[in-house]
């Protein structure tokens, strides 16, 4: 959709969602230093336009898979700031009952299949979800987010080949933030234009400005329509940049402050805000209302996480298997 098609309310919804991710993650970083959140924490700050643009173009019946940098996708998919924050606390109110943490947000009821923390490991899963949809006659598409680093993995090529060979409705959404952890794309890819690779499998692919939420929404909407109509997989290379460190333990020795600063001038939230102000769709009052609204939601999420109980110790083994053997005859 164009900005005109989105309209003022549609545009405000996108702005609010991007700002929610930004403020939520800023709070996460703060809570990490307070040791409320532990383990690995990978922030999405700078890349919000992709999750928000892409997920606003999908339906509730579509499947979504993401990486360990998935807070933005989970929020935009509607898992709820409260259950997500509680998951990071490791509490019973978490979307994965405290068993996942930051890297493994999961909510099958929203068809959100992780939060997958092995680079590239979830690409075959996405192809499998799409295979099941095709075999069962469901008209869903499967959106699979991954980074430029994943394109070096063997399963990347296996997954693209099989999705194309079997004409499966998969959207491969590559968030190219120019670094595989701390290794620049020039150092990990023989051809840095990733969108050329899927074409070798006959998969239509294009590069999109991942800092432009409207451009992302439009590209994903077109791609999803094609995949939904049985035209096979689509691939988008979404150009973006991670403003913060890879994780909380990263001194960022591999890139210059000047480079980071240059990209911050293309902050997706500021770009979109500017576009809305130029339209006369946003003024200081409206902006302040969105800000307060989002901060209120983040505060409520923290409260929810704080008040949520811990999982009962006796439930440790409860979900290792979906049902214990012996509860039935012959496993039927």
């Amino acid at each position: 959709m164009s900005l005109d098609d989105l309209g003022r309310d549609g545009a405000h919804a996108l702005l609010r969602e991007m700002l929610l991710i930004r403020r939520f993650e800023e709070k996460c970083a703060e809570l990490y230093t307070q040791q409320k959140i532990r383990g690995f924490l990978h922030l999405y700050i700078g890349e919000e336009a992709i999750a928000v643009g892409a997920l606003s173009a999908l339906t509730a019946d579509d499947n979504v898979l993401s990486t360990y940098r998935e807070h933005g996708h989970a929020l935009a998919r509607g898992l709820g700031a409260g259950p997500i924050m509680a998951e990071m606390y490791g509490k019973a109110g978490g979307c994965a009952l405290g068993r996942g943490g930051s890297m493994h947000l999961f909510d099958a009821s929203r068809r959100f299949y992780g939060g997958n923390a092995i680079v590239g490991g979830h690409l075959p899963l996405a192809v499998g979800l799409a295979l099941a949809d095709k075999m069962l006659g469901r008209k869903a598409v499967t959106a699979c987010f991954f980074g430029d680093g994943a394109t070096a993995e063997g399963v990347f090529h296996e997954s693209l080949n099989l999705a194309a060979l079997w004409k499966l409705p998969v959207l491969f959404l590559c968030e190219n933030n120019l670094y595989a952890m701390g290794t620049a794309i020039e150092l990990h890819a023989a051809d840095t234009e990733i969108s050329r690779r899927p074409r070798a499998f006959g998969i239509p692919a294009e590069r999109v400005d991942g800092m432009d939420v409207v451009a992302v929404e439009r590209a994903v909407r077109y791609a999803a329509e094609a995949a939904r109509e049985g035209e096979g997989p689509r691939f988008l290379e979404l150009m973006t940049y991670r403003f913060r460190a890879h994780s909380m333990y990263d001194a960022e020795l591999y890139r210059s402050k000047a480079e980071v600063q240059r990209w911050k001038e293309r902050d997706p939230i500021q770009l979109f805000e500017r576009a809305l102000r130029e339209r006369g769709w946003l003024d200081d009052d409206a902006r302040a209302r969105v800000e307060n609204d989002v901060l209120g939601e983040v505060e409520a999420a923290v409260r929810f996480a704080e008040e949520s109980p811990w999982e009962a110790l006796e439930d440790l083994e409860k979900h290792v298997y979906v049902r214990r053997v012996g509860a039935d005859e012959g496993g039927a």
Partner: protein, 328 residues
């Protein structure tokens, strides 16, 4: 009852379950047009068509993971590895995805998938094609690990595996495909539950635990021990290594007071060591001798016939171990 081969038993289980439930499908290398590298899937393509008998490229990580994804959203895939040696390429998909689906979803997403194929040494196929993978997969909570020794167990346990809602590692004996044995008629629809060991031979002289190809080595050894030493051994086949029916093994040891565990995997760790550990704690006061183990020797499998024979458990090594345990 009729007599069929182990290979046919595996095929019958797949065929019957595919007829019973249209969500079940078979996917792997050479399962369709080639009719299976070991002819286990012979005829299934003609019977069920390309939609349910799917030939894949040589891409184990890809098709294993695709199976996991399909299982998480409503299908019941059977993934055939041409041999379990090739599953190492797909290890991440099995360990990080299949075995974690339930835990990561808080018990809300079942992953009803069977990974199956031949396991263990064949004949002179050397170091990269002779693995017994039992120790790798039994270590993983979230997986069930099954290794049937007889045609009847192969069929009955595979039917259970296909109906199970958790991922199952189904290890077939590469050298057992031609073994013949009695299997109930199709109408019996026998599904053998997991976690139930089978006492294959009764005796009070020494308990021998064995599964897979060594199971037959042990039966031969037990017969010779009876003839040559008058010792009646009790042979217990666990059938499923996870869950493990330790109760049946311990009950037997309480009767015989001696225990030998025979397996084809390497001696360091694995289900062999796990059984020894559990028996010594559960039956400590009943044991009259240290528990013995007979395993593959601790080397990558050599190609040369004489060396390979030396590495694998054989009747003489089993007899020596039983004699040590029985102070004969």
């Amino acid at each position: 009852m009729r007599e069929i081969r182990y290979r046919e038993a595996v095929r019958e289980a797949m065929l019957e379950e595919m007829e019973r439930d249209e969500r079940v499908f078979l996917m792997g290398e050479e399962v369709g047009h080639y009719q299976g590298a070991y002819k286990v899937s012979e005829g299934l393509l003609a019977r069920f068509g390309e939609k349910r008998v799917i030939d894949t490229p040589i891409a184990e990580a890809g098709f294993a993971g695709i199976g996991v994804g399909a299982a998480m959203t409503g299908l019941r895939p059977i993934i055939e590895f041409m041999t379990w040696n090739f599953s190492f390429v797909a290890f991440d998909q099995i360990i990080s995805n299949a075995a974690k689906a339930s835990q990561m979803s808080g018990g809300r997403v079942p992953c009803p998938i069977v990974f199956r194929g031949p396991n263990g040494a064949a004949k002179q196929v050397a170091s990269q094609h002779s693995h017994s993978v039992d120790p790798f997969y039994t270590n993983i909570p979230g997986l069930w690990v099954v290794m049937p020794s007889t045609p009847r167990d192969a069929k009955g346990l595979l039917k259970t595996a296909i109906r199970e809602d958790n991922p199952v590692i189904f290890l077939e004996g590469e050298t057992l495909y031609n073994v013949k044995g009695e299997v109930p008629d199709v109408e019996a629809d026998e599904a053998i539950p997991f976690g139930k060991a089978r006492v294959a031979r009764e005796g009070d002289g020494c308990t021998i635990v064995a599964w897979g190809a060594p199971y037959y080595v042990v039966l031969d050894a037990a017969e010779r021990l009876r003839q040559e030493h008058g010792l009646e051994c009790e042979v217990v086949d666990p059938r499923t290594l996870r869950p493990l029916d330790i109760e049946t093994i311990v009950e037997s040891v309480k009767k015989t007071h001696r225990c030998v565990v025979v397996h084809e995997h390497w001696p360091y760790g694995g289900p062999g060591a796990e059984i020894v550990d559990q028996v010594q704690r559960e039956a400590f006061d009943w044991l009259d001798a240290p528990i013995e183990r007979v395993a593959a020797l601790d080397v990558p499998m050599p190609y040369a016939s004489n060396l390979e024979t030396l590495v694998l458990p054989n009747v003489d090594r089993v007899i020596e171990a039983v004699k040590r345990a029985a102070y004969l």
